[in-house]
């Protein structure tokens, strides 16, 4: 079985090591015997055939805004894929353009592509910190870039609940909807958390009509040790330059 992973705007939206999320899922699928193609989409390209999964990453708001404009004409195609069960994995600003609305710092509200059930307020200084979350998919240890506040619909399910950084600020992260995830966690989060990557990979294979063997891989101990180091250093406070 050949699976195509479509990575939207890899050059412009990649500030959370987002290509690492794609590389991780591709690696884990290949290790389980699947053939994987990674295709990319940038402004002016055609979306192409329906892929096995769609990835979009974090980046500067100006880049996300451009991506939003470029995707607007193909919104109905994306909606069709999303509602037919193609897994989407979206991080940071790339996820925000897939939300309902985005309110900018100056109070101006713009429409998102309305795939995920949340709204965004980009009204705060950024904060970079380590994050430790519980989720129904397992514990998630990652790096968080909190440049905005996400408000998910009352009926929607957050991806996780956890603490951020040395001050242990408690907060929900992201949203999980059917086979898709939107999150503010970087790191990249899937490389650090192979169990979450396998959940995504399993949804991809399931959607393609195949069977997935989620037996851990030998490299998983590397990610486990990496998470342990992050947990040991949770108290590290990163000095972020205020706006």
């Amino acid at each position: 079985m050949t699976i195509t992973l479509l990575h939207l705007f890899p050059e412009d939206l990649g500030a959370s090591g987002d290509s690492g999320n794609v590389q991780t899922v591709a690696y884990r699928l290949r290790e389980r015997g699947f053939d994987v193609n990674v295709s990319t989409y940038a402004s002016g390209d055609g979306l192409g055939e329906k892929p096995g999964a769609v990835f979009i990453g974090n980046g500067p708001w100006a880049a996300a805004q451009r991506a939003r404009e470029a995707l607007a004409p193909v919104r109905s195609t994306l909606h069709g894929w999303f509602s037919s069960g193609v897994p989407f994995f979206a991080v940071g600003a790339g996820a925000e353009i897939l939300a309902r609305t985005i309110t900018l710092r100056d109070g101006h509200e713009i429409a998102g592509l309305d795939l995920f059930p949340f709204t965004v307020a980009r009204d705060r200084d950024g904060l970079g910190a380590y994050a430790d979350c519980d989720s129904r998919l397992g514990r998630i240890v990652a790096f968080a870039d909190l440049s905005s506040e996400w408000r998910i619909d009352d009926t929607a399910e957050p991806l996780g609940h956890g603490v951020i950084g040395g001050k242990r600020v408690a907060r929900d992260d992201g949203v999980i909807l059917a086979s898709s995830i939107a999150t503010q966690l970087g790191g990249p989060v899937l490389a650090l958390n192979p169990h979450i990557a396998d959940w995504v990979a399993e949804r991809i294979v399931e959607h393609a009509g195949g069977a997935f063997d989620a037996t851990p891989l030998p490299t998983d101990s590397l990610a486990e040790n990496a998470r342990a180091v992050i947990l040991d250093n949770m108290d590290q406070v990163f000095t972020t330059i205020a706006l």
Binding site: Y130, F143, Q236, T240
Partner: protein, 422 residues
């Protein structure tokens, strides 16, 4: 009076921190508390003024180049050591180099300055020439958005009293001409010839300017990198081809050299000499950790220091074909290393030892990229011991390390002196 008191107390604090084996910005912080105008007073009488060097990558190397070229022209230069680029860091370096009156006795000062403090320091010190090297994706845990770092540098560059030296190929810094306010310093640029960029595996790696992508500002390009060789570069400047040897390998060092030469020309005007510049480069050693080669038992080791995606990629692209035994090490000095997945490791197909607190993240990434490795060892001390076992006389090793591990590893092989800008 207050100035002298601050300097004397600061020097005492410096001596104490040195006794404890540390080198830090703390003495400078103490001195600035006592005399908030310490820096203004210290630099007021520097006859040829102050040069600032800004940029995401290459500040230390370029500051070193500018300083050495100026020294080659007979000037006495004050400069700050690598990394001491916040106000307290500049103050600490001041304490090490001035007398009790706290006045800098040099012909000119060349300071590398952190992006986030560049405007503050420019307002205090009124630099004559400001060089902007590049805007590359760096420390997003700190700046969140590269555009913010770019704008900080543009704002500081606009405060130059006499000349701005900018990078034609940088989508942010090349727009500096539009930033000038009341002051109207001249703007000159350096750049890299397109065929040189095309020959580089991953290009220049300057950050994209998403907010202002279509902006093209006419620039007076006075120096261009026209060729790269194994050990040097050729610059086209003032209607001459100037061949220079470089202190370390890589296109980025040629860019730094073009920036440094352009900056020195702005300072010296007609007194700039191509021959003296070439002689300065011929005698130049690499800046701390930047391609520095140090003896290690019966061989030696090249320190390839990295800070972010661009600096690691450009350094990997410049590695010689034969790297010898390789250590890669990274620690909490690089809090967010997610960008490691964007790096192409084609130049390193095998790593002998991966070390530092963040060794597991590095190993996880390299495993997925198909780079093989023999040992993952968080302790740098034990990792260096392993590299010692791998010493073959005459086979140079390559250690690819972040800043903090550069300091630790240098010390472990017997080079305990602090970073020095000269």
């Amino acid at each position: 009076m207050r100035q002298s008191l601050a300097v004397i107390i600061g020097k005492c604090v410096y001596a104490l921190t040195k006794l404890r084996g540390g080198g830090s910005a703390f003495p400078g912080l103490v001195a600035l508390r006592i005399a908030p105008r310490l820096l203004q007073n210290a630099f007021r009488r520097v006859p040829r003024g102050i040069v600032f060097v800004l940029g995401s990558n290459g500040k230390s190397t370029t500051t070193h180049m500018v300083s050495q070229i100026l020294r080659g022209h007979g000037l006495k230069v004050f400069t700050n050591p690598t990394g001491a680029n916040l106000p307290q860091g500049v103050a600490s370096s001041l304490l090490r180099q001035v007398g009790a009156r706290g006045v800098v006795r040099a012909d000119i000062a060349v300071l590398e300055v952190d992006e986030a403090f560049a405007v503050e320091l420019a307002e205090i010190l009124a630099p004559r020439v400001v060089l902007g090297l590049n805007t590359q994706v760096d420390q997003l845990y700190r700046f969140i958005d590269t555009e913010r770092a770019g704008v900080m540098m543009l704002d500081a560059m606009a405060l130059a009293s006499e000349a701005i030296v900018t990078n034609r190929d940088d989508p942010f810094l090349s727009t500096v001409g539009d930033r000038r306010g009341a002051k109207t310093p001249r703007v000159v640029a350096f750049g890299v010839a397109s065929e040189v960029v095309a020959a580089s595996p991953n290009g220049l790696l300057n950050a994209q300017n998403f907010a202002d992508r279509s902006r093209v500002t006419a620039l007076d390009v006075v120096t261009e990198v026209t060729a790269l060789t194994d050990s040097g570069t050729t610059l086209r400047t003032r209607d001459m081809n100037v061949a220079l040897s470089l202190p370390a390998r890589g296109m980025h060092y040629a860019v730094d050299a073009a920036a440094a030469v352009t900056t020195v020309q702005q300072v010296l005007g007609e007194d700039w000499s191509a021959d003296l510049t070439a002689a300065a480069f011929a005698a130049m050693k690499p800046a701390y950790g930047r391609g520095e080669v140090l003896p290690f038992d019966a061989t030696d080791v090249t320190f390839v220091m990295f800070k972010n995606m661009a600096s690691l990629q450009l350094n990997l692209d410049a590695l010689p074909h034969e790297t010898g035994p390789v250590m890669v090490a990274i620690d909490e000095g690089t809090p967010d290393m997610s960008w490691i997945y964007d790096v192409r490791f084609d130049a390193l197909r095998h790593v002998d030892v991966i070390s530092g607190d963040k060794c597991w993240q590095m190993a996880n990434c390299l495993a997925m990229k198909g780079v093989t490795f023999d040992l993952v060892e968080p302790s740098v001390e034990r990792a260096v011991a392993r590299m010692r076992e791998l010493v073959t006389p005459g086979v140079r090793q390559t250690w690819v390390v972040n800043y903090e591990i550069t300091m630790i590893a240098r010390k472990l092989i017997g080079f305990s002196e602090l970073a020095s800008g000269s």
